[in-house]
Symmetry: C2
Subunit: 343 residues, 2 copies
């Protein structure tokens, strides 16, 4: 029997192969696989559904991840997917596979982070499944949200000449992860692991306790702006912008000098001898919103805080390009974090 | 710092502790934790949500579980929860943590079972998350369904004198599991593991490829019957009937001689020197529907096929009792399969 190694396909290749023949047959299924969230319509408002599976050793390391933070992050990364559809998260279900190493107090810590996130974002915990795990800690969260039909934003709506914006800054979460990994190696075996993170709190917070950009979605709504396309940056700016372009059948020009990078991110990249643009393009886990708006909104967008114009959409035949600081055009590639790729 | 071992609380104790202070704050959250599915209302029909986490080594053993069957079962056990609310499953999301041992073809087999179940039950696959797993194969499915507001059935509606019915027969799935485990031990180490299961197909099918009782829900609807309470039997008849009684603040009388048991189940219990009533009460994974209807429907219920009257609801002070074949009354106990209990 033929046995194809999954690494030869990677995450997106595997998903493609498994789901290419899946058709929607129910009248209530509006949008299936391929965006930040699925959409179902049971009358009334549209219901958005997104789900994330987080596995110990793959997505988090309990050596340096406080369980309260992990609970918080498990919730916000799902909220982020709902905001990326221009929706409002409303409910989550929480499934946990609990390894024997964890105590009741550990799980309570996890839940306290989860509950805090839910309180801040106005989301209810409505169900889930709890079981033991022979192996690592397993977290599966599904988030249910709502969106108005005419205001739902997909990945596939970007048009030629649209402006590309991103919220916040990029690369900090990745540098936070590098920092934690380095300290873990240095302190390996030391039970009283208390590294000095002074002055780097921003990087750690971006990695360990990211927020979802509810504020950006609200700001756009208050200003009557509905993006033509939107995605949240989980895999990395490159990978996620390429999702928008391929699903919109469009190209793009992205300007390196416009990519927003925090001072701490730049300093830490320097320390690690990493190219900070590469970090911002491919680091991922930023949970910022990447979206496009029509060109004629340029002036209006100029007045909005917390977002940055980073490029514009082009015809598909021009491809997806990064314009470097010295004016060179380079093809944009997805080098985002891919947990199923070959190492 | 205090560290309480999770086994001291068990699954239900832990869930209680974690969720006792969770309140619903959103107008759209109708029903939270504590039933077969949660209910949200975004206008129009009510939306039901249920989720199940299946972990290798805990919930399934890939030595004797064909991946196609596992895919089928992963879907139907979720559909079963939606039917237990008198609802209709409409969509699922599928999250997989894939261990390196599995090939692309293995995952395709899993998906073929999943797709088959979805086709048969009229359900769409609308999303999910796919990642690698350092450890075992991890399956997390969330099912979205609909229900009419006045026809939704909860666990908490059973009233004194209501009749208790169960669909199909009980204990077969558990005996199927025993059979598979025994053959696994016998053939341990033999790569060409081909045990002879002739004449025991029913037990194996009940364990490996269970159906959800859509037919029973449809039959009740066609006859204009809305149960006062309902649950699907996943933990075992005892445990799940006790859920109905405690949530309805009621007692019950369950008659041993009326518990439906298939001939093959009885024979296999005999072979294994097990008490077949214990198997039917506590085996679990039957995915049959357990429900109550008002006494005055007795005659009407008599004409329905595929269900069995097994007892009736009593005042809470009478407790939950099993009437044995020789007329003794015994207190009913939950000895259902509890993956977080102390061994």
């Amino acid at each position: 029997m033929k046995r194809t190694d999954i690494a030869t396909l990677g995450e997106f290749g595997l998903i493609d192969r498994l789901t290419k023949d899946i058709k929607l047959t129910q009248k209530s299924s509006i949008k299936g696989i391929g965006d930040d969230a699925a959409i179902v319509d049971h009358g009334g408002q549209r219901t958005l559904i997104t789900t994330d599976l987080l596995l110990e050793g793959i997505h988090f390391d309990l050596v340096y991840t406080p369980l309260k933070h992990l609970g918080y992050k498990s919730a916000t990364v799902n909220f982020s997917d709902i905001y990326a559809m221009n929706g409002t998260p409303q409910q989550i279900t929480v499934s946990l596979g609990i390894s024997k190493r964890l105590s009741v107090e550990d799980i309570e810590d996890f839940y306290s982070g989860l509950k805090l996130a839910c309180e801040i974002y106005g989301v209810d915990i409505v169900g889930g499944d709890t079981t033991s795990s022979f192996t690592g800690f397993t977290v599966s969260i599904t988030c249910i949200g709502t969106a108005e039909e005419e205001k739902t934003v997909f990945r596939n709506g970007a048009k030629d000449t649209d402006l590309i914006y991103v919220s916040g800054d990029l690369g900090a979460s990745y540098m936070g992860l590098q920092l934690l990994e380095r300290e873990k190696t240095v302190f390996d075996g030391d039970k009283d692991f208390q590294p000095d993170f002074a002055g780097r709190e921003y990087l750690l917070e971006r990695q360990l306790k990211p927020e979802a950009r509810k504020d950006i979605v609200n700001m756009l709504a208050e200003n009557g702006i509905v993006p033509t396309s939107m995605i949240d940056i989980s895999d990395g700016l490159s990978s996620d912008l390429l999702h928008i372009c391929s699903q919109s059948n469009a190209g793009c020009l992205l300007f390196e000098e416009r990519i927003p990078i925090d001072y701490q991110t730049a300093v830490m990249a320097e320390t690690f001898s990493m190219n900070v643009t590469t970090v911002a393009l491919n680091g991922g886990e930023d949970y910022e919103l990447l979206f496009t708006v029509p060109l004629h909104l340029h002036e209006k967008m100029n007045n909005l805080k917390g977002i940055r114009l980073i490029g514009h959409i082009t015809p598909p035949e021009q491809g997806c390009c990064l314009v470097t600081r010295d004016g060179q055009e380079m093809q944009l590639r997805a080098q985002g974090w891919n947990p199923l790729a070959e190492e």
